[in-house]
Symmetry: C2
Subunit: 216 residues, 2 copies
């Protein structure tokens, strides 16, 4: 098992029995999510910003406009903390205190670096598209020079990360098991709605196949 070594900042302190440092698990959580939350410090002030991302190998990529306050701060080598959280279920216990959620989360720490190599930048942009909708990259118009210049891509090395996972039923106090209260887990997942075609899709173009969609 390939695993991360917990560091001072990446070690899970609370409920350490839920902590997992296995790289494959960390990767699987990252690959199942769509939105990450990026934390950084600017002028002594913490900021948390949601954004899309994609993983390729042991690097996590985020992207945006060169004018982005976040990307400018991060591209200058600021320390980043980044989290991806998947909600898997509501855990309903017999006492209010033991209510919980089932989830999988990753928290990583890294310094971001600006991706300047054109091949890596294109590969990262391909990863963003394929992350959401596998096969899409080959179907659409790929980025031109102007669009590449108008996109900043940052890479974060995935070498300091931890996962936290809760699964299973509620754990109640022994005395509470005699209460006549329903307890258990209500699973939660992501559901795709009926695709809404843009008004200007050309006649004869096949509707999108949502079966191709990679579910988390």
């Amino acid at each position: 098992m390939d695993a991360y070594t917990p560091t001072e900042r990446s070690e899970v302190r609370r409920l350490p029995k839920r902590a997992v440092y296995d790289k494959d698990l960390v990767y699987s959580i990252l690959d199942a999510g769509y939105v990450c939350h990026v934390g950084f410090v600017a002028g002594g002030q913490p900021y948390v910003i949601p954004t899309g991302y994609a993983r390729a190998g042991d690097r996590l990529y985020i992207h945006g406009s060169p004018a982005s306050r976040m990307l400018r701060a991060l591209g200058q080598g600021a320390e980043v903390s980044l989290a991806v959280t998947l909600l898997d279920g509501f855990v309903l216990a017999r006492s209010a205190f033991h209510h919980s959620m089932n989830y999988r989360s990753v928290v990583m720490f890294a310094k971001a670096s600006l991706v300047t190599d054109p091949a890596e930048k294109l590969e990262a942009l391909r990863a963003f598209t394929e992350h959401v909708w596998p096969g899409r990259w080959a179907e659409v118009r790929q980025p031109n020079e102007r669009e590449l210049s108008a996109t900043t891509v940052l890479a974060l090395p995935l070498d300091e990360a931890s996962a936290k996972v809760r699964t299973g039923p509620p754990i109640d106090d022994e005395a509470d098991y005699s209460l006549p209260v329903w307890a258990g887990v209500v699973p939660v997942g992501m559901e795709l709605g009926e695709p809404v075609a843009d008004e200007r899709v050309l006649p004869g173009v096949a509707a999108i196949d949502t079966e191709r969609f990679r579910r988390g």
Copy 2:
């Protein structure tokens, strides 16, 4: 319309046309979410940690163990940035560049304060339970003295916040509308699975009614 005044840190800089400072919208996004991401600085290092939350009036509450590194740092008056993000759809354009997501997000800034008033603390704990499953508080065993002592509750005033919202179809470059590519929005929502009863639920106890569940 009751609105937040954008500050240096809460003003949305990127894509300001997506920014909304309306309090009702901010509240509705917070009330529809389940997990927030809390950003803070400890020892000069940014941290982002996912956690549950609940809103009551113009305060947002988070809670956890008194041993939590995050809650200890925050309870001492550290600056907090907190984000809640709801993913609403995948926006598939005719070019890779114009792919996007529909979403609603809130980013807020505040100093947290420890909730020490027993009545407010109990009210916050009630809000956590009711936020996830309305009506649950009255059905379950409420917190005892030991559990109240074992729970730290922090309040964050909701007076510096902004929302960001994207809705609607992809916006393609005019030339790309002639491409024979499907484009549009695939809506995304949260789906509840079949409840899984705990093994020790007493005979005769009615199954949980998922219709009571508040969907985002």
